[in-house]
């Protein structure tokens, strides 16, 4: 609520800053915009930025520091014997206080009740302090901005600088998010590797991530050999690519080389719809339609097929990946210069000879890039395998067996109530790190291959 009011006030002041800045610039120029070194509206934006940016900076700092400042003040106001408590108990006490504040109750213990009251009064006065501070900064900023306005001021250049800074900040957000994710994965994974040796994790062949929650619990010592999990991921990815690569590539060839314009205009969007189907829909299609079909078909041949077979999950995942492969291959084939086609036709090659012997070799790097991106999709895909692949960590190459994948295990390890320091939970981070590394490497290779290819014909 208070944030909303602050925002509205700030925006109103910014708008006012814009008008004042423009008017002042015009007034200084004696109403002749030609005497200014920038258009009047740039002076308006200039002053508005002086109003807006410092205030936003102050607000950001405030919200970042508020909880720790409150914490320090409230804890500092506690009686000394409570302050002397161990850190963990003090933390519990502090969350009790916060709960009491949030629920509006008054605890029985008088010391804590005093702390709650202290907290209340602090957080009641905080918005006032913040409002006053923000207003002061806003007005000060506006004042400085207005004073700086003069006909010689290169307002347009200054605005340009701010725009550049804004763009830079936006583009680094993604980078910093990635770095943050990697670091959090890394630290948790390192904690995991302190509990379970990395060699056992990478090369162990038994995966059974049940650890005892209570010391007296029976039978759950846990085994963290991720070999079967990696093997399951590999098996399902291979099955998926066995579906996606030929179908995607052949349909790309048809689209790019054979299809009449009208067929292409209909088929290509239809194919790309496949990429737009939510993966959860693929998931229940795999689990409820494809898996029973494969099971029925297998048993009619006398084969023993698990009801959650790798084949069902992999095949449906392959269908999901088809548009990635076909769309990138299509681009690669279309980028082969027409002169190569004509060269082959001119020698008397037929269409399929031209495609096989000239166009595909020329487009190969782009196609390989598309396939690698498809593989990294397959490895990282979660929903289909969660619904259709099962949980049993079997070390097998039989596509009719149930297998599990890295993503499925991460999901199972982290759903439900968890302790965040057990090996079981931390294992998820180690798995996530592996997943991240593998897809990162694949993507880098794919992008490298695709870029090299582009250089060839431009």
């Amino acid at each position: 609520m208070q944030t909303l009011i602050l925002t509205i006030v700030l925006l109103a002041l910014t708008a006012a800053g814009f008008r004042l800045g423009r008017r002042r610039a015009l007034a200084l120029a004696g109403g002749r915009p030609k005497d200014l070194s920038a258009l009047p509206r740039y002076y308006g934006v200039y002053v508005a930025l002086w109003v807006f940016v410092p205030a936003v900076a102050v607000l950001a700092v405030w919200y970042a520091l508020e909880p720790s400042v409150l914490h320090a003040l409230v804890v500092g106001g506690l009686p000394p014997e409570l302050q002397a408590l161990p850190e963990a108990e003090l933390g519990l006490l502090y969350s009790d206080i916060r709960n009491a504040v949030a629920l509006g109750t008054t605890p029985d213990d008088s010391a804590i009740a005093a702390a709650v009251a202290h907290y209340r009064s602090l957080s009641a006065s905080a918005p006032l302090g913040l409002g006053a501070l923000a207003l002061a900064v806003t007005l000060a900023g506006g004042g400085i901005g207005l004073r700086l306005v003069s006909p010689q001021l290169r307002a347009r250049r200054s605005v340009e600088t701010v725009v550049r800074a804004l763009l830079l900040v936006s583009s680094t957000i993604a980078v910093f998010t990635t770095i943050g994710i990697v670091l959090s994965l890394l630290f948790e994974a390192v904690r995991f590797f302190r509990l379970v040796p990395i060699t056992e994790f990478l090369f162990g062949l038994e995966w059974s991530p049940q650890t005892a929650i209570r010391p007296d619990q029976v039978g759950s010592t846990g085994a963290f050999g991720a070999g079967p999990v990696f093997a399951g991921t590999a098996l399902i990815s291979v099955i998926a690519m066995a579906v996606a690569a030929p179908v995607g590539l052949l349909s790309a060839i048809y689209m790019a080389e054979y299809a009449p314009k009208r067929a292409r205009a209909v088929l290509k969007p239809l194919l790309e719809i496949l990429a737009g189907i939510p993966t959860v829909v693929y998931g229940f299609f795999a689990a409820l339609t494809v898996a029973p079909f494969i099971r029925g078909f297998g048993s009619s041949l006398g084969l023993d097929v698990a009801s959650e077979s790798a084949l069902a999950a992999g095949a449906v995942m392959g269908v999901m990946i088809i548009p990635f492969v076909s769309s990138l291959s299509d681009d690669a084939i279309a980028a082969v210069p027409n002169s190569l086609r004509e060269g082959a036709y001119g020698l008397g090659a037929t269409r399929s000879e031209t495609i096989r012997q000239v166009i595909l070799p020329a487009a190969l790097p782009g196609i390989v890039g598309g396939l690698l991106l498809g593989v990294s999709r397959a490895i990282g895909e979660t929903m289909i395998v969660v619904m259709a692949a099962g949980l049993a960590a079997n070390l097998t190459a039989n596509p009719f067996d149930a297998v599990t994948t890295v993503t499925v295990q991460i999901v199972t390890l982290l759903t439900g109530d968890q302790e965040f320091d057990s090996a079981k939970t931390l294992a998820a981070f180690a798995l996530g790190l592996m997943l991240f590394l593998v897809t990162l490497v694949l993507n880098v290779i794919a992008l490298y291959v695709v870029r090299r290819y582009r250089e060839q014909y431009e």
């Binding site: 060269g343 036709y345 001119g346 020698l347 090659a349 000239v358």
Partner: protein, 269 residues
């Protein structure tokens, strides 16, 4: 080029029987690209073992006509070709298009070597047409073709390297070798020197003159000097019509049509 000044007198003597000895012959050729007509009733004979140059301003239809001779316009969806085109008296539309293109080779404006080795580039045609019984014979064809294209000495030691790594002029000679390797009867050249520097151009022009002994050549060119240097017959096209055709020397010294005169003296084009 000194060699280009040779033939005229002997050509005059045979003028009367030209229709009979024409390698290829076009009558009433009309070409449409969608609704737009690109060629109007073009009639032209291509004499055997001569270099015939097609000249004219941009968009006059010279490339379009050239591409009719090996049915290259077939691959363009919107193109429609009408009229009679014959080779050795037989309708080219009666032939399988693959066979026609084996007999009528083509060299393009921009060198377009395949992304394969130099050897495989030249061997491509013989391989798809099954011209060689074994590896030795294939190697023989490749070497002879590179030799005829005047490229062998430059690439002898690196036949396994990619054709795209050669210089522009070498690439174009590689493309000529590739066309020759199929042992065609006619070679069509669509502005083969427009992407090359003057030295590479001179090299190709010499080559064209040498190739005339074995092949019938039709060349589209933007450069009138080139037409004068390499060809014995010249056809001038303008706005899709064949304005004038004759011995190269006559066309350049004594054009009958005003438009031809205007073009060759540089008044338009």
């Amino acid at each position: 080029m000194a060699t280009t000044q040779t033939a005229p007198s002997s050509i005059h003597a045979h003028r009367a029987s030209r229709r009979a000895q024409a390698k290829m012959s076009a009558r009433d050729v009309n070409v449409f690209y969608g609704d737009k007509q690109a060629l109007f009733d073009v009639a032209l004979d291509i004499p055997a073992h001569h270099v015939t140059a097609l000249i004219g301003p941009s968009g006059c239809g010279k490339s379009t006509f050239l591409r009719c001779l090996n049915r290259m316009n077939d691959v363009v969806d919107i193109a429609r070709v009408e009229g009679d085109i014959t080779m050795d008296g037989g309708d080219i539309y009666a032939l399988d298009v693959v066979e026609l293109r084996a007999r009528v080779g083509m060299v393009f404006q921009k060198p377009n070597p395949f992304p394969k080795s130099i050897f495989d580039n030249v061997a491509y045609g013989p391989r798809i047409h099954g011209l060689a019984q074994d590896r030795d014979e294939l190697g023989e064809i490749v070497f002879t073709s590179l030799e005829k294209a005047g490229l062998l000495d430059e690439v002898r030691d690196r036949l396994d390297q990619p054709g795209t790594g050669l210089s522009g002029g070498q690439q174009q000679r590689l493309c000529i070798a590739r066309a020759i390797a199929v042992n065609p009867e006619v070679i069509l050249m669509d502005e083969p020197c427009s992407a090359l520097d003057p030295i590479a151009t001179a090299r190709i022009e010499e080559l064209i003159d040498e190739l005339r002994e074995h092949y019938t050549i039709v060349i589209v060119t933007h450069s009138m000097q080139q037409a004068a240097r390499v060809s014995q017959r010249t056809a001038f096209l303008h706005l899709g019509e064949l304005v004038e055709v004759g011995d190269t020397q006559d066309i350049f010294t004594n054009p009958r049509d005003e438009r031809t005169q205007g073009y060759i003296t540089g008044r338009f084009g």
